[in-house]
């Protein structure tokens, strides 16, 4: 925890972001070193984009071209969108995408609400047992969710929540690391801002809602992005708790049809590309916030 705390501190307390320097001081803009750095960077970027571009290329081939083993980017019969139309004509993909979207939003909203309320109490209120309760919550960060699948599944059986949205959502909303991140942020907000409101007789909830939350927008966005990506991509828990095809999320649903398609590679790739698209678009639009969010909440992702 120590190193974790130190790094978060260095990241979150950075005052203004360092102005982007065009190049290292003392370096010639077109020096040998700079050119070779650029070459290595391009090689790495191409290497990292290639698998995904290859999946896109395959998705635009006919099944025969895809299965021919011909390593060209465009199939012999020319590009086609038949794999996409085949995928989209099956209703399940829409259902799964919808389930993924709304359950991920629900997980994010609930996590954010309950974590922010708890973090505020730890940061600003005085109550018996505050210290040990906080220590217990922080200590629980080390428990990997994978360790709890058996007792959690057992509990969901008892609650009759197997094959329900609630069974899918609720076990994902406990995020002790997020309470920790939010508390640290709240701690840094000057208390004088709240004192003024208290003298005017504002209630704690009102102060929380109209003073603390608006000041915390950047950190709330970071946490929200982080929780959302985690929920959107979560595989193990949805895979265990949902068996009903109509309730599945995208990752779990797509996995069930791999075998059903057999060797229809173009369709499998079209499906992979479609499933990847929403988050890639979101990333392109919100790149700055996501990059910052990952750097800030990074250590909560374990």
């Amino acid at each position: 925890m120590m190193s974790t705390a130190t790094l978060t501190e260095t990241i979150t307390t950075t005052k203004p972001a360092r102005a982007r320097r065009p190049h290292l001081p003392g370096e010639k803009p077109f020096g040998v070193l700079r050119i070779s750095a650029l070459v290595v960077l391009i090689v790495l970027a191409v290497g990292w984009l290639l698998p995904f571009l290859w999946a896109i290329a395959t998705a635009f081939k006919t099944e025969t071209d895809a299965a021919s083993g011909d390593p060209s980017w465009i199939g012999a019969s020319g590009p086609t969108i038949e794999a996409f139309t085949a995928i989209l004509s099956q209703g399940n993909v829409y259902t799964w995408a919808f389930n993924s979207l709304w359950t991920s939003i629900a997980v994010t909203l609930i996590t954010l609400t309950i974590s922010a309320l708890a973090a505020y109490a730890f940061s600003r209120l005085d109550f018996t047992g505050r210290k040990w309760l906080f220590v217990a919550i922080i200590a629980s960060i080390v428990v990997p969710p994978q360790v709890l699948i058996i007792p959690l599944f057992y509990e969901m059986l008892a609650f009759n929540m197997i094959d329900t949205y609630w069974g899918l959502i609720l076990p994902q909303v406990v995020a002790p690391a997020m309470v920790f991140i939010l508390k640290r942020f709240f701690d840094a907000i000057p208390i004088e801002l709240e004192d003024a409101a208290r003298v005017d007789g504002a209630s704690r909830l009102r102060i929380f809602w109209s003073i603390v939350l608006p000041l915390s927008r950047p950190i709330l966005a970071s946490v929200a992005i982080f929780v959302f990506i985690g929920a959107w991509n979560n595989f193990l828990w949805p895979f265990l708790v949902i068996n009903d095809t109509t309730l599945m999320t995208l990752p779990v649903g797509l996995q069930t049809v791999i075998s059903a398609y057999g060797v229809q590679y173009a369709q499998v790739m079209a499906q992979a590309v479609l499933a990847a698209l929403p988050l890639i678009i979101v990333f392109i639009i919100f790149q700055k916030q996501i990059v910052k969010g990952v750097a800030t909440s990074g250590f909560g992702g374990q």
């Binding site: 790094l7 700079r34 990292w48 109550f127 058996i150 797509l254 790739m269 992979a272």
Partner: protein, 316 residues
């Protein structure tokens, strides 16, 4: 008549007891408000984290089955079985092997990427997108893409080997190479996360330090070795620990890339927990393996804390 000197809280009453009572009342009120703020999180915390931890321990001492049968107390039998179960040790070995194989490239490549991007070469947006984009993909999607690339007959991976005049491999279908294939896919998938953490750490280094070094005649290499790298110490410790913990939890991609088929050379400890609980229906035994795995994680956590403390002390 009592007059409190505190200007904002001047309370004038006829009774001396009035002030303490009032204070106790406002303190009780604060207690009440605190618990109201905490209640939603605590409820979820107890239901979905604290109680499952306790209940898992209880289950690990029983022969509970998924079907509802069993459930009687059998002492340490599950733990005794786990510690003598060759499959448990095999999956533990696979997990540690995967962790070693994946952690080194995931840290080194991330550092290289961040060091290059931090040089301020134009196209920041594109570099970040290229390196981080795979991290946004679900395990299902990356598994499908890599199963296709690793196809022994028509996959792109063998095309590349052929191009370099090498023998084609069976990749995921050969027990000698399936773990390596999973490592390659995992490095591609998750390196972007470490890359962003490194980049953030590098951008926290004050530019004045580089300027000063430059005035002293230090070139870019020199600046990287004597300014950038030494200051990445804490970030590296953190990234290393997070990566080890993440790698130890291997399941999603390994399970899906092999199409749910258990392979003795790739079965991870989490996969064995899953198989014991949801394929063999042995909840009690599965819970026991979970806690053996958890013990491993705690040991690593304690080791990390000790290392960090020693680092801190040596810095003082």
């Amino acid at each position: 008549m009592t007059t409190a000197t505190d200007s904002t809280r001047t309370i004038v009453t006829g009774s001396k007891a009035a002030i303490p009572i009032r204070r106790a009342g406002s303190r009780n009120r604060e207690q009440l408000i605190s618990w109201a703020f905490l209640a939603p999180f605590l409820l979820a915390f107890v239901l979905f984290l604290a109680w499952p931890i306790v209940h898992g321990i209880i289950l690990s001492f029983t022969d509970q089955s998924l079907t509802g049968a069993g459930g009687s107390f059998i002492g340490f039998a599950n733990y005794a079985e786990a510690l003598t179960d060759p499959k448990m040790w095999q999956s533990m070995g696979n997990t540690v092997w995967f962790t070693l194989l994946s952690t080194v490239p995931l840290v080194v490549i991330a550092l290289l990427m961040a060091a290059l991007v931090d040089r301020g070469i134009p196209g920041q947006w594109l570099w970040r997108l290229s390196f981080f984009m795979p991290y946004l993909l679900a395990s299902t999607v990356i598994s499908q893409i890599w199963v296709w690339i690793f196809n022994p007959q028509i996959g792109a991976a063998n095309n590349i080997l052929e191009f370099f005049g090498l023998e084609p491999l069976a990749w995921l279908q050969n027990p000698d190479t399936n773990m390596l294939s999973i490592v390659i896919a995992t490095v591609w998938w998750t390196v972007g996360f470490n890359f962003l953490l490194y980049l953030a750490a590098m951008q926290n280094i004050p530019p004045q330090q580089y300027e000063a070094a430059s005035l002293d005649g230090a070139g870019p290499w020199r600046q990287f070795w004597s300014i950038t790298l030494p200051q990445l110490g804490p970030a590296t410790v953190l990234i290393l620990i997070l990566q080890i913990l993440a790698s130890l939890k291997l399941f999603d991609q390994a399970y899906q890339m092999l199409g749910g088929v258990a392979s003795d050379t790739t079965r991870s400890i989490v996969q064995y927990i899953y198989e014991a609980g949801f394929v063999s229906y042995r909840f009690g035994y599965s819970a026991a393996i979970s806690y053996v795995f958890f013990a491993l994680i705690v040991i690593i956590g304690v080791a990390q804390a000790l290392i960090t403390r020693r680092r801190k002390e040596s810095q003082l």
